[in-house]
Symmetry: C2
Subunit: 261 residues, 2 copies
């Protein structure tokens, strides 16, 4: 099973998105797509006169902003992705963590910063895997918007990378799962300026070495630490690569950065 | 199985909606909820500077309006209904006709008026009943937003009454189905000014008689004609009643207007 997270830059580019969806629809075997949509949410916020409030690069989700992301992620983007995949013969359905209580979560507890209606997912053990397995049996492809709920009636804005890794770990108890992060670069780069400096294979030993040498771009470190955590929790491989290469990546060919234990 | 359509007036009233959802969650047996949300969509349109364009009381759905209804019906309202039902222990999931291709439809063909991105559903024979049956088996309650898709990548704004009757007819091949329309009156009234003039039982003979006498409010006729069509197509009973009485109605007690063959 492939759990694929698509980055915001692809969602914002109609031509790239079109090609990505055609490629995604053609991937064989059970698959899951996870998306956010922060840029389009910011645009709608602006149109509605809601000032985006960012702290340390993270969006503060007040009640008005929660309305916007619920509309944009759960409605506009999610349903259009589903309609466009249906047109490509991929029988998909749109979900959030609230639907069928697939991904239980809770509102992030207040420490230094009040992030507002932001969700932290519970353990992968609490994911509704039987429901996802029944979808896979029926040949249905779930498309997840980056939203969960608190079990008390509120939707919660939730990090799409976290949703993808939580689903991948949970599904790995029943399936052999590859977790794929698609973005606008060809993989993890040794030199952030050089698209051809892709590290093809990361394992704990060379990762530790590269970290020590300071050779990996700092912004990539949390993503990679999460990738290794997902592997330790049962995911078979994590692949980071370009959205335009999703078909080759999903087919298991050597493209992008493959991360294994 | 109960297929319940909730009117816009209930969605717009937080206290009424709260009570309705508590009552709905408590209904025993498999159930389906269908909702629109025209008033909230109109408010968002206005905020975004999109002029609502109504012809003969029907909304013309241009591309901008389609974005708005996809956001409001499929995202904001649908996901909040799901979250609020989850909080009441009702394991629900939100759907449109596009999800799992549950309700195939096509864009309304252009005759005198171009309604834009408005969907006419295909025959109930094309509804994905096996998927809905699998949800019922898993104890999951589908919540339908009034949206379908054209199979070519576009979402379509679709009449919620039609979605409810199409689902009810399709499901009646496998379940014993009651189709319930909840609105802000106690049932079909003999005197539109008198809330106590509810007609308790309508059958083809007294319906014909009341129509001849001009005793039924004209605005109710298309709804009733559709109700009889649904009965002829296999639905066991159609009940029209007040949203506040949904629990009693769903329990089969004599409330509202019951329509049978």
């Amino acid at each position: 099973m492939s759990v694929i997270k698509i980055g915001g830059n692809v969602l914002d580019n109609p031509a790239q998105l079109d090609q990505f969806l055609t490629d995604f629809a053609a991937i064989k075997g059970p698959k899951v797509l996870v998306h956010g949509g922060g840029k389009i949410a910011s645009e709608l916020s602006k149109q509605l006169g809601i000032e985006p409030n960012m702290v340390n690069g993270r969006r503060i989700t007040d009640a008005d902003t929660l309305r916007v992301v619920t509309m944009v992620y759960g409605g506009l983007l999610n349903k259009n992705l589903v309609a466009q995949l249906q047109a490509r013969g991929c029988n998909s359905l749109g979900l959030t963590g609230a639907d069928a209580n697939v991904i239980p979560a809770h509102k992030r507890s207040l420490k230094d910063i009040d992030y507002g209606f932001v969700g932290d997912v519970e353990s992968p053990d609490q994911v509704n895997v039987p429901f996802l397995a029944s979808l896979a049996e029926q040949g249905l492809t779930p498309i997840f918007a980056a939203l969960t709920h608190d079990g008390q009636g509120n939707m919660l804005n939730t990090n799409a990378d976290t949703i993808a890794s939580t689903l991948a770990v949970a599904l790995s108890r029943q399936f052999e799962v590859n977790l794929i992060y698609c973005f606008e670069k060809k993989g993890v780069l040794l030199d952030v300026e050089d698209e051809n400096s892709v590290i093809h294979h990361l394992q704990p030993d060379n990762y530790a070495q590269l970290k020590e040498q300071g050779a990996i771009f700092a912004g990539m470190l949390p993503k990679l630490d999460n990738a290794f955590a997902a592997l330790q929790a049962g995911v078979k491989a994590v692949i980071i690569g370009h959205a335009a290469e999703i078909q080759t990546i999903a087919a298991g060919e050597k493209v992008g950065t493959k991360i294994t234990l």
